[in-house]
């Protein structure tokens, strides 16, 4: 099983996911809806938070969390509901499947961020972020968020009620990401160093990746 | 000090009840295991 064949398989799965998403558009709509509604609710409730960078950071990441909780498990739920999992398992190994879907979830998260973050900064009258630190925390945070959501998504897709459990079951694994990301985003607005948060996010992301690699083979064995 | 004694008594009572319940449970389990 050469590495280049795996890379091709992962690429094929990523393209398949994007095409499915483009054709059904289910996930994107749900996520954008959630992002925009929580954004409006937040900006309506809290108003212009110019100087309160801790609240800004918290609200930003809550909006992103809601958007991802609404949609990041869908890539697996769709396979189970469409009963296409056996076919997928015949054409790719569990590692390739999870890798392809992880990249899709990451891409999906980036698309949501491109749409909601500018709007968030505008609506909340946030001070201009320090783009280097801000994007660093956002990037590593999104990576860890996607990693945890993909692994948990694969689990809850096989339970009764499918996605219903996704938020509750994934939350303990998302909490470290949320805490570090909020803290980092706040720090960059207060011109404080974000190095420790970046290290934390990177370490947690690496730990999740390592554990996922060990566990994916057990995800589907029936 | 009486406050303490009340809490002490309650704690002992709770522990006694829990122990008794577990003991009886174990008895029934042993019977089922035969």
């Amino acid at each position: 099983m050469s590495a280049s064949r795996s890379a091709r398989a992962i690429w094929a799965i990523l393209r398949k996911e994007c095409r499915s998403e483009w054709r059904t558009r289910y996930g994107l709509n749900a996520a954008l809806l959630f992002a925009l509604t929580s954004l409006t609710a937040v900006s309506f409730a809290a108003g212009r938070l110019g100087d309160r960078s801790d609240l800004l950071a918290a609200f930003l990441w809550i909006v992103l969390l809601f958007a991802s909780l609404a949609s990041l498990s869908h890539t697996f739920v769709r396979e189970v509901e469409g009963q296409t999992l056996p076919m997928l398992r015949r054409v790719a190994s569990p590692t390739e499947i999870v890798a392809g879907k992880l990249l899709f979830n990451l891409l999906f998260l980036v698309v949501i961020e491109l749409l909601t973050i500018p709007l968030f900064l505008l609506l909340m009258a946030a001070p201009a972020p320090q783009w280097g630190a801000f994007l660093g925390v956002l990037g590593l945070g999104s990576l860890a968020l996607a990693l945890a959501s993909t692994l948990i998504g694969a689990l809850i897709a096989q339970t009764r009620g499918r996605g219903a459990l996704f938020a509750g079951v994934s939350f303990p694994l998302l909490l470290p990401v949320l805490a570090a990301a909020v803290n980092g985003t706040r720090a960059q607005w207060q011109n404080l160093p974000v190095a420790s948060e970046l290290r934390l996010l990177a370490a947690y992301g690496a730990a999740l990746l390592a554990v996922s690699v060990l566990l994916v083979d057990h995800l589907w064995e029936e | 000090m009486t406050g303490n004694n009340v809490v002490l008594a309650v704690a002992l009572l709770v522990w006694g009840l829990l122990f008794y319940y577990l003991l009886r449970l174990e008895g029934r389990i042993r019977k089922l295991e035969k």
Binding site: D54, A148, L151, I152, L155, I156, Q158, T159, R160, G161, L165, G168, V169, S170, F171, P172, L173, L175, P176, A179, A180, V182, N183, R186, L200, Y204, A207, L208, A210, V211, S212, L214, L215, H218, L219, E221, E222 | N4, N5, V7, L8, A11, L12, W15, G16, F19, L22, L23, L25, E26, I29, L32, E33
Partner: protein
């Protein structure tokens, strides 16, 4: 049976001594008493989580449902002790600092463990087929194992920086004289013994249930 007798007397003695013989930690006054229950239940919470995770890894490796029984039961008991630790912790915080909850690092880490337990048991509750439940719960358990160190030691510190509270935090290092230490360690052992006894009972019940279920279809199943 002797062992059970020892456990009965051991914890009873611990309770009595905690209230009568052991002196008070100067700064904590009467509230020291609750520590004899709060910290052992916190200890069992962590012990039970570790036991459940080890059992989960063993299940993934050996595929014997026996290990899954341990993983599930340890989590159920762990949740009980975790609730006990959280409640006694917040009662103690009320007595000491006047508020039930103030994100003190130790409180938050126990609370985050509560979240892990609830999530794990919710996942188990949502899967009917025993083997699938065992497999998926084991996967979650190992994933949570990675998150626990971050939840226990990293996130609470972040909360401290996020909400630096003016309230003084006296509970840095409790300086215990040897009498307190003796009763305290005794209670720790007693609680651990109680945990393993309850675990043992529940696992035996699960084994009986499975044997009865299989009686209808005798099939030698390697290792099940």
């Amino acid at each position: 049976m002797i062992l059970r007798g020892i456990l009965l007397l051991w914890i009873a003695a611990g309770i009595i001594l905690a209230f009568t013989w052991a002196p008070l930690v100067p700064v904590l006054q009467e509230t020291t008493r609750v520590l004899y229950f709060h910290i052992p239940s916190a200890w069992v919470t962590v012990l039970a989580l570790g036991w459940s995770m080890v059992a989960s890894v063993l299940y993934l490796y050996r595929r014997r449902l026996e290990y899954d029984d341990h993983a599930g039961t340890a989590a159920e008991l762990g949740l009980l002790f975790c609730i006990g630790a959280t409640v006694s912790g917040s009662l103690w915080a009320k007595a000491m600092w006047g508020s039930y909850w103030n994100w003190d690092p130790r409180e938050t880490s126990i609370f985050f463990l509560l979240l892990v337990y609830v999530a794990y048991l919710a996942l188990r509750g949502a899967i009917d087929e025993p083997r699938r439940r065992a497999r998926l719960a084991a996967i979650y358990s190992v994933a949570a194992f990675v998150a626990v160190p971050f939840l226990m030691f990293v996130v609470p510190r972040l909360y401290d920086t996020l909400h630096p509270d003016p309230i003084i935090n006296p509970r840095g290092k409790v300086d215990m004289d040897n009498r307190i230490r003796m009763v305290f360690t005794g209670m720790l052992l007693g609680f651990t013994g109680l945990f393993y006894w309850m675990l043992n009972l529940r696992v035996r019940v699960l084994r009986i249930e499975r044997r009865r279920e299989d009686q209808g279809r005798p099939m030698e199943v390697a290792g099940a």
